[in-house]
């Protein structure tokens, strides 16, 4: 390419850029139902309405409590979560899942995830003289205050909301699975239909409307407790006051907001 050709194509760049810009503006206006010039302003108003409506995200800081002594491992929470959040029914796709820990007398701990599909036909744990103790641990996204998954996302598709919930923007997610690798709790999965990362949202659409998350709603023994850590009267704050609380992998400094009571030292 000589200099003349270069300068010619450079001249073409400006009308092309202007055209692309107009297209983008037009697309944005179509989305919000406003004309081009209003699009930006309308978006700003929407963002403002988020804070000025009757729900104030900055006044909440959500967390969950799990009381291991009450959990009967019925997996109704797992079922309810799949129903509420349209998680694929087949195994290996979970926003919350159930683990059975079996600790034998020689100190070995084995973990199995209870399979929802074969739940009805599921055999109860074996009575074994070699078993020292066994129990169930429900797991879910810990909604860390210092989330590693948010740090690693290359396109900024995942973020923490003001009320302490980690969400994924499915429109931005490129499905690179980096966050799935980064989560120390294995709480994320790649949704087989959308091919984007998906995870527990504490049922954000329910919580904001004053409903409990689906798993907490259906738990028959109230082993799961949901609440707002900024409200002194919430059940969760009382739960953290009345029980000795552990979190999973505290050494990683992720500051998880799922609090376990009576958690066994073997649980990872």
């Amino acid at each position: 390419m000589n200099k003349r050709q270069f300068l010619k194509s450079l001249l073409l760049l400006f009308p092309a850029g202007g055209f692309t810009g107009t297209l983008a503006r037009w697309a944005g206006a179509k989305e919000t139902g406003k004309t081009g010039a209003d699009a930006g302003a309308a978006d700003r108003r929407d963002a403002k309405a988020q804070g000025n409506g009757k729900y104030h995200p900055d006044r909440h800081w959500y967390g969950m409590g799990v009381e291991i002594d009450k959990c009967i491992g019925c997996s109704r929470c797992v079922d309810a979560c799949k129903t509420e959040n349209a998680v694929p029914q087949e195994p290996f796709f979970f926003r919350t899942w159930m683990e059975r820990y079996v600790i034998s007398k020689n100190g070995e701990a084995s973990v199995e995830s209870l399979n929802v599909k074969s739940k009805a036909a599921r055999e109860a744990g074996q009575e074994d003289a070699e078993v020292l103790r066994s129990f169930f641990v429900p797991k879910l996204c810990n909604q860390c205050a210092n989330p590693p998954c948010v740090q690693v996302c290359p396109v900024g598709a995942t973020f923490s909301t003001q009320d302490g919930v980690v969400l994924v923007d499915a429109n931005r997610c490129i499905g690179c699975r980096y966050c799935i690798q980064a989560c120390p709790y294995g709480a994320r999965y790649l949704h087989p239909q959308t091919k984007t990362a998906d995870k527990c949202t504490f049922c954000y659409h329910r919580v904001v409307n004053d409903l409990l998350p689906a798993c907490v709603e259906v738990c028959p023994t109230q082993a799961r407790i949901f609440g707002d850590l900024k409200s002194k009267a919430s059940r969760l704050v009382r739960f953290t006051r009345m029980n000795k609380i552990h979190v999973l992998k505290p050494s990683l400094n992720t500051e998880p907001k799922v609090y376990y009571a009576q958690l066994d030292g073997e649980v990872r």
């Binding site: 810009g21 944005g28 700003r44 019925c74 739940k119 109860a124 409990l212 028959p220």
Partner: protein, 244 residues
């Protein structure tokens, strides 16, 4: 000093490129494409637009107050309606057209009540193959007010957690009935006949007061200790501290 012609032209071209990039970035590209704040708020909007499947117990109680009040007094008092009946928000929107799921199958109840050694002690469990085979559970047990066919023998059958706590405390040797009077009906219909709880400071003073005859109980002067607070506002009676 004379600036060479090529440098001047190059500078001009560079200035045009930089200028047009800035125009494209800040004027032509709409804010909604680059603003992180707007992306987040639109994600939240999409999240909030998701449909609710589980209506919540409060919604059920609005119409089914009779059943709800019965459930509240039985062993299933802590259960949400939708734990057994499944997601019912469609039923709440149009009660005539959509009926919620009603479990009739013998496979349903053992999901919680089948014996499993990993389940916590004290949770009622049966062996589904040996426990009255063929009959559906609701022929003997009303799921809205389940009554065990054989009454529990000890308090720890239901209150296992309290029993475990007390067992390692300095109150380990006390019977439940030392402090609680338990009506006979409490075993069958626990919420309709509640056990009594101590009500006064003097009750604890019977063992812990200076004049008490109990030898190994720590003694305090009721008139000077703790002001007007009741004992259990500071000391948890199932796990009292202060033994050292």
């Amino acid at each position: 000093m004379r600036i060479p012609e090529q440098i001047r032209r190059l500078t001009l071209v560079l200035a045009i490129i930089i200028g047009s990039t800035l125009i494209a970035r800040f004027l032509l590209i709409p804010r909604s494409l680059v603003s992180e704040e707007l992306h987040r708020s639109s994600t939240i909007q999409r999240e909030l637009a998701k449909p609710v499947s589980f209506a919540g117990t409060a919604m059920c109680q609005g119409c089914h107050e009779d059943v709800a009040s019965r459930v509240r007094k039985g062993f299933h008092k802590n259960l949400s309606c939708e734990s057994c009946h499944g997601p019912a928000s469609k039923h709440a929107e149009d009660p005539g057209a959509v009926k919620p799921f009603a479990p009739r199958d013998r496979k349903f109840c053992p999901v919680c009540h089948g014996y499993d050694p990993s389940r916590p002690t004290g949770f009622p469990q049966i062996n589904p193959t040996a426990h009255n085979p063929v009959k559906p559970c609701f022929t003997c047990h009303n799921p809205h007010d389940p009554v065990p066919q054989r009454l529990p023998l000890a308090c720890s059958a239901c209150h296992a957690q309290i029993q475990r706590t007390t067992a390692v405390s300095s109150h380990a040797l006390l019977q439940c009935t030392t402090c609680h009077t338990v009506p006979a009906q409490h075993k069958g219909t626990p919420r309709r006949a509640l056990p009594s709880k101590p009500e006064t400071r003097e009750f604890c003073g019977k063992c812990h007061g200076v004049a008490a005859s109990q030898k190994d109980a720590p003694k305090i002067d009721l008139t000077s200790h703790g002001g007007t607070y009741l004992c259990w506002q500071c000391h948890y009676p199932h796990l009292p501290e202060g033994r050292g």
